[in-house]
Symmetry: D2
Subunit: 364 residues, 4 copies
């Protein structure tokens, strides 16, 4: 896992040089809030915390009472990887799984799930929130019009729309649209904007596009133990990250090496790319022998849950289903080196993957 | 909905006649505990509350920490009909749905679900409890050996077994086995024994077969607001209900009229009984016209969720999927009357359903 | 502890005789709601539960967010005797103790406590509710003008007013005022009206004088496991209790025997009545020897916390501080018998307490 | 508010330079744990979070069930300044205030409070934890024998001992004892060791001296949203802070300038030092005019709650009660400059405070 980008770290070091007011009244936090407003082209309320789990759970607590249901993809991070933090912060709201290919919920699957929920309150939990992961857990992005359709369905059932934007930067970098178009212009109520996976050390912003929803949020954050005394810690990271579009540069770089990796892997015998590569993740089925030799050569990647595979795909006896993640630190030559190792083992379909001229790259 | 049986009400009236100690130290509560121990042939710890939701949620809180998962049938009452009470009382534990025909989970579907849960603690919730509804939401009973197989699977994954016994009496009355065989002898840890649906006004017992699990339970019940001052209210109901096997008499009567109803409906043209009738519920698909006319004649029954239907069954355009519930108050002549009304409208396949000689019965 | 009064029990038995709709849609619940509206001379929203702890905690959850403070007397029942149920149902709101003689908070002590609370949100919990016990834990009643002054102070600090009315009937019976004057006309927002201590088996009403505050209450009650299926159980108790002013008759009777007991005890050598007797409780300091002999003669009473004594009062080495409670079942002859036993042991200051002519009374 | 010390920041920058495993499996976290074990001379379990509120609340949740009471000084940070986070993380445990001079609880006041708690479980919350702030909210330190006496009292009532060590470093730096003597050797169960107020950016360690108490702690931290992906962020701060006794150097420096400030202020006409200066805080009553002029000259300090003053002390009409805090960044010349400004306004009792020769110091 990469650390912070140089510019983010520089901002942090600079912010450290002088004393400043505590609990978010410092100039760095204030500038970060202004940069967010500028980035999203509107007035908004922003709060910073250290983890995506805290951001998502706190955000959901603002739109779900304990007797409400929150709908999300069955493989959403909030459903699978955040323990029962959503339940903890909401006081017991329930996550309801929605199906959909490639980690994406659709107006159809969302609508059908909403319709199927028993509606005899107070016996049944009732929906008040829909959470969408951008980019999805399978590395695909939602287009603005897709988001708009989902918010339409959500609103027609009385539910607000939350974006888990751990990879939101990668989605914006990929799509030909503005952050505003991908959020509030498409009806989004709350965005959890993650910087931690894309150049920050530990910094997530909860962005309310309607300040009214944030009325109790300072209290929620405080009682969750997520109000840090030296608020500039988050402020500085976000200033370094947002200023001059640095966040999108970082994301574009990671997306680009993911594209390169995906294209290269696709040329190898026995490798199948599972979903189009749209963010900084590549999901592929590899011969087990190839995976083992790549690991032996120093590469780090994870096996992925085969339950999430498309219906027409499966993992053979001698195969493994893997997720590769590139970061802003990944260089094209890192990918070339990796592919060369892969190519030297397997048999490329159309010839050798081009060697990195610099030759100095370490493995991915 | 029926009230209390005469014997239960008599006990309540008798208990009311004299002053007695508060908070469960009264002779009625003590006798109820002794009757439970006798009924289940072993030492146990019992606690009384007014609702099934309270009983189940409190019981689950004794075997599930906030970061645990509780597995139950996807249509279990605790999953569908108890709001988010399980989350409230456990502090946020998550319910995980298990599939299975006729509302019953099987060692196979339970095992596969347990295996499929991501196991990377603390990121993933981890199972600690399995909840089984006896009789199932579709009116079927689990045999002792089925329960034993489920506890085996649960234990091999570190999970305790809880029975939601809202209709436990109906199951015991149907099966040729003792209450002990159907619970602790088959490995059950906690039973929520419901009297409210079978002759009591409002009385449920949470029965711990291992006292150690009950160590904090008095505190849990108190802070949930479920410790009543005049504990004899529950004690007397349970004494009236358990004494001399009255609870099983009531259940046998309800089961028997359900059998009669099921058999009678099955003879009618266009009616399909969906699941075998094993407790006091009959699930059937009826021509819509028949259902409407029965309603017009004063019968009360509910449409049921067609999602729960077997794969090979569906509800036609002109049909409805209904649940009929008999109670200890339902008389054979009530069912005969009902079937006569039904038969006068529809065309019985094999002739007329026998008329109730007494003729004085009101409709179901 | 006494059971239910005959009229309450009769209503329950009558309600049991026929089947009726579930979950509070039955005619008894509806009539109980109408009787409450009539009793309080206005439109209101009412919900029924089985215990005072549930009533108070649920009511407070409607007016206190998890980061709020609830002010109440330091010896209030919600502070001392309801475990951490208030915290459980509010999601963590904090109880702040207010001092005051005889269990009563005053505009002055309430105001000073409110002023003293640190006001730097979100670091400090902020007040949103004040809870007043009517009659107080020391058996004194608040007059309508006292309640009005407290609501003024509460409102000027943004706090709503809740009445824990476990002995509200005793207060109304004592004061020359209407239930309306003692509640909403004096600014009360929510009343928990207790019937359990005054003639019911287990029945408490949460009364919202402003329906808007009750908007989520059905959900709160359900997820707390406090929605009973056979709602008539509560409805019938309240119908029996409220109809024809029965509740006030019961309270008047209990108040009257408390007066008799207080006056009689005051005549005994070495006995000091601690607070004026205004409801159905008598607090007195007795010679230990007298208390022991009364116990030996079959009387039941409790030692009380001497911390609550007035500054100018203390319990000597050979004394005990006791609480006596009369109920609607207590007869004047019961008190006479009790006093006779006491008088036969101690030496009355002004002569013998008159013997009960009937002579058939058992002890208190 | 100061930022991080150079050595802490350097460690952070160094840790950022290379990729490392996530969620605390990185070499920095591992080294930090080893340094803690070395510092405390024993095996222990340590967990890192970003805020003192999170550390304290999570720690308390490991030793207090929802129906338990936690005793702490009436002005403890967890009581006054952490919203209702303790209630949130414990699921509703109650904080019980203990009195004591200078922010310190004593074996006597603790014992008397414990004895005074009503003990009728489950009606009353029962104590399971005592929390002690080291140094106290009034800037005084507890000696090892004082801690040992408190743990004795706590244990004799079945309660564990927790230290809120936000200023633990200042206490160790002041006392002639080892960290071990001040904690587990004196019976302490859990220490929240704060680095944020003494040289770190945002880093607190929860230290369990008995690993058994930590069994669920990873789950508690995760569901609270306090498990950061890039764990080295905390690891590096603690490595930089603990290595070579840097943490104690920082604390000694802050303590020393606090001593200098306290001694200098004491010489000024009309100034009264309220409590002995033992950590890095000075509490003093100043003429209001003096305070205003110091503020005008750029000094930053806070008015403090006069309720916490000793009985024989009070704040006059023209006086203010202030808290001054020094940090590791405060230089002796900063204090001299400050005192010179103060002396030029007020009239020193014994002559002019020596001028800082360097003359380049900015104000405190």
């Amino acid at each position: 896992m990469a650390g912070a980008s140089d510019r983010v770290l520089d901002a942090l070091v600079e912010a450290n040089a002088t004393a400043s007011p505590s609990y978010g009244a410092d100039p760095w936090t204030i500038e970060a809030e202004l940069l967010l407003a500028e980035t999203f082209e509107r007035d908004l309320a922003a709060f910073f915390v250290a983890t995506g789990t805290a951001a998502n759970s706190l955000a959901l607590s603002a739109i779900a009472q304990p007797w409400n249901a929150i709908l999300c993809h069955r493989y959403a991070h909030i459903m699978v990887d955040e323990s029962s933090a959503p339940e903890f912060f909401t006081g017991g709201a329930r996550l309801i799984p929605v199906v959909g290919a490639a980690g994406k919920i659709t107006p159809d699957t969302l609508g059908r799930t909403l319709e199927s929920l028993p509606a005899d309150s107070p016996h049944n939990v009732r929906p008040s929130a829909v959470s969408v992961t951008q980019a999805s857990e399978c590395g695909l992005v939602y287009h603005p019009e897709e988001i708009a359709e989902l918010t339409d369905v959500a609103r027609s059932h009385g539910a607000a729309l939350h974006i888990d934007g751990a990879r939101f930067a990668n989605a914006v970098a990929r799509l030909n649209c503005s952050p505003a178009e991908l959020t509030w212009k498409a009806g989004v109520d709350i965005l959890c904007l993650g910087a931690s996976k894309n150049g920050a050390l530990a910094a997530e912003a909860i962005v309310f596009f309607d300040r009214k929803r944030a009325v109790d949020f300072a209290s929620r954050r405080k009682r969750g133990g997520h109000l840090v005394a030296k608020g500039r810690f988050f402020g500085a990271q976000f200033v370094g990250w947002l200023r001059d579009g640095h966040w999108l540069e970082l994301a574009r770089s990671a997306n680009s090496t993911a594209d390169q990796l995906s294209a290269g892997l696709a040329l190898l015998e026995g490798v199948r790319i599972v979903w189009p590569t749209e963010a900084n993740e590549v999901f592929a089925i590899l011969p087990r022998s190839l995976a083992e030799k790549l690991r032996a050569a120093g590469s780090v990647f994870y096996e992925w849950n085969p339950d999430s595979l498309p219906d027409n795909e499966s993992v053979g006896e001698d195969e493994v289903f893997l997720r590769f993640v590139t970061s802003f630190l990944t260089r094209p030559c890192d990918v070339s080196d990796f592919l060369e190792v892969a190519g030297a083992i397997s048999v490329p379909k159309f010839g050798t993957v081009g060697r990195n001229p610099a030759g100095s790259c370490s493995n991915l």
